[in-house]
Amino acid sequence: MYGLTRYKLFFLLPGLLVLLAIILFPLIFTIRVSFSGWDAVRPGLDWIGGVNYGRLLADGRFWQSLSRLGLMAVSAVAIEYVLGFGLALLVWRQIRFRRLVRVLFLIPMMTTPVVMAVIWRTVFHESLGPANDLVTLFGFAPIPWLTNAQWATFVVILVDVWQWTPFMFLLLLAGLLSLPREPLLAAAIDGAGPIRAFWNVTFPAMAPISVGAIIIRLIEASKIMETVYVITSGGPGTSTETSSYYIFIRGLRDFQIGYAAALSITYLVIMIVLLTIIAKLLTKTLIKAEA
């Protein structure tokens, strides 16, 4: 028995210890730093109690960045889910050039987000980019893509949709391919049209994988900052600044390490709580509907 224990530890321990050292220790350290006044002028681990947390409660820029992040993440993921599901349904059955189409649909999620963001920024350049060329072709006035708050938000969401719809597509297609055929055949025999068959058979059967895909995407979307940094730098003003980006500015630009640590911990806790609630709600509404 002693021998087996040794093997059990041999397998698990290296990975576990590495993860504890690289992630858990920094996290605990951050919690400690959040109670210090560590900044560029006076670096060091002093103890100032909850001052940083008090300041954070009154920091409108932080709370705005959170609600903005919520809006961006939820709308981007909703659009990605609908489009990804639609595309998966389109290529589910045999179609011509099936493999080429699938590769094409997968490519965006493989590419480096910041590198694509650099390209997107040139696409949406107001006078030199093709986006406004297309808009004026249809007879509209050029759009101030990156200098207007609403349009800039739209561009950030659009780029996210371009990049991550393929992820939804991949998971939902895998789900569709693994569905049993019989219920759909039965529905067809009962005379259900394609739309009714979808709502009554396919959609409920896809509920568990849908919930999984939406949650994974929400987790990833709640971290949005790189593309924002490249495309708008949070602007115009602070109108596209997400929480991660704001914390980055406070911590690694202003070197208000203590305050940024307090922001990080608050952000992390809010994210975990919100995502847990959303996961519970989604599971309840989508999967219960099946029963």
């Binding site: 087996l4 093997y7 059990k8 041999f10 397998f11 698990l12 290296p14 990975g15 576990l16 590495v18 993860l19 690289i22 992630i23 220790f25 920094p26 996290l27 350290f29 951050t30 595309l87 389109l90 179609i95 493999r99 699938r102 094409l104 649909f105 997968l106 490519i107 493989m110 590419t111 480096t112 987000p113 910041v114 590198v115 694509m116 650099v118 390209i119 040139t122 030199l128 093709p130 406004n132 060329d133 371009w162 991949l170 297609l173 895998a174 391919l177 693994s178 987790i219 709640s222 971290k223 991660s244 914390i247 980055f248 911590g251 690694l252 390490i257 911990i265 952000y267 992390l268 995502l275």
Partner: protein, 280 residues
């Protein structure tokens, strides 16, 4: 309606494909422009709309004026990505095998909690870790080094390899292990001689995911390196800041995503065999 449907379907597929391809085509055509070609406004077709030039591409490969060194960031990115992927694949595979085959118990913590602990690290926003990483690598003297980045990337990639490999090992029948044990293999020999050779598809998928996520990271490379070490995404984004040379920007962007497009073809092949998407 019956006849209209295939037409609508083809139109939808074409429309989305055009959207997917558009930024690549735009970057491709821009990469053949010169300063004049860019400032003249959006143009698309070489020879017709503008006079194409190879200057940007030559600049990337170190000849011609205003050349940009893309080779050394490319090498750094490759070294960091491959070493971090390899380390996390080894550690992740060992841990995943343990979690899949043995039962662990430490107080209230069991196998599922341990697996969840590994996977849940993906929830952590990079910015939360950036500050402690910055300070700790500073203390270790590893800021701005390849080794420092590899350590950080192992933490990012380990959850992915554990997640994929636990799923994969669970799909391999336990009888295989038992037979090997009866034949007198130790647990490690069972793992090494019997299970691992049967795990190539899982290892490939986990490896691909690690490479994609490692190659695509920007944030940690951006916050933890300055001048000595530069990874590809950081090098490209830094071109973005000053007077933007769109042509070099486009050419280097295309070079940096090219390996990933090759990987997309690989992923599709595995999708066809049904080994992505977890349980079937």
């Amino acid at each position: 309606m019956e006849r209209l449907y295939p037409l609508l379907k083809a139109a939808a597929i074409l429309l989305w494909s055009a959207f997917v391809v558009a930024p690549f085509l735009w970057a491709l055509t821009t990469s053949f422009k010169t300063a004049n070609g860019v400032t003249a406004g959006p143009t698309y077709i070489p020879f017709v709309d503008y006079e194409p030039s190879l200057a940007a591409w030559q600049g990337l490969f170190g000849s011609g004026g205003g050349s940009i060194d893309i080779a050394s960031p490319f090498v750094s990115s490759t070294v960091v990505t491959l070493s971090a992927s390899l380390v996390s694949l080894v550690l992740g595979t060992l841990a995943a095998y343990g979690l899949s085959r043995f039962s662990y118990k430490a107080g209230p913590v069991g196998n599922n909690d341990l697996t969840f602990f590994f996977v849940s690290q993906r929830i952590m926003p990079p910015v939360v870790l950036a500050i402690p990483f910055f300070l700790m690598l500073g203390w270790l003297g590893l800021l701005d080094t390849i080794a420092g980045l590899v350590i950080v990337y192992v933490a990012l990639l380990l959850p992915i390899s554990v997640w994929v490999m636990v799923d994969f090992f669970n799909s391999i029948p336990r009888e295989l292990d038992e037979t090997a044990m009866i034949d007198g293999c130790t647990p490690f020999e069972t793992f090494w001689r019997v299970i691992l050779p049967n795990s190539v598809p899982g290892l490939v998928v986990a490896g691909i995911f690690c490479i994609i996520f490692g190659w695509n990271d920007f944030f940690f490379a951006f916050t933890l390196t300055f001048t000595q070490t530069q990874l590809l995404p950081v090098a490209i984004v830094s071109l973005n800041s000053s007077v933007t040379p769109w042509w070099s920007l486009s050419a280097s962007a295309l070079i940096s995503v090219a390996p990933l497009i090759v990987i997309a073809f690989l992923v599709e092949r595995y999708l066809d065999k049904g080994s992505i998407g977890g349980r079937k």
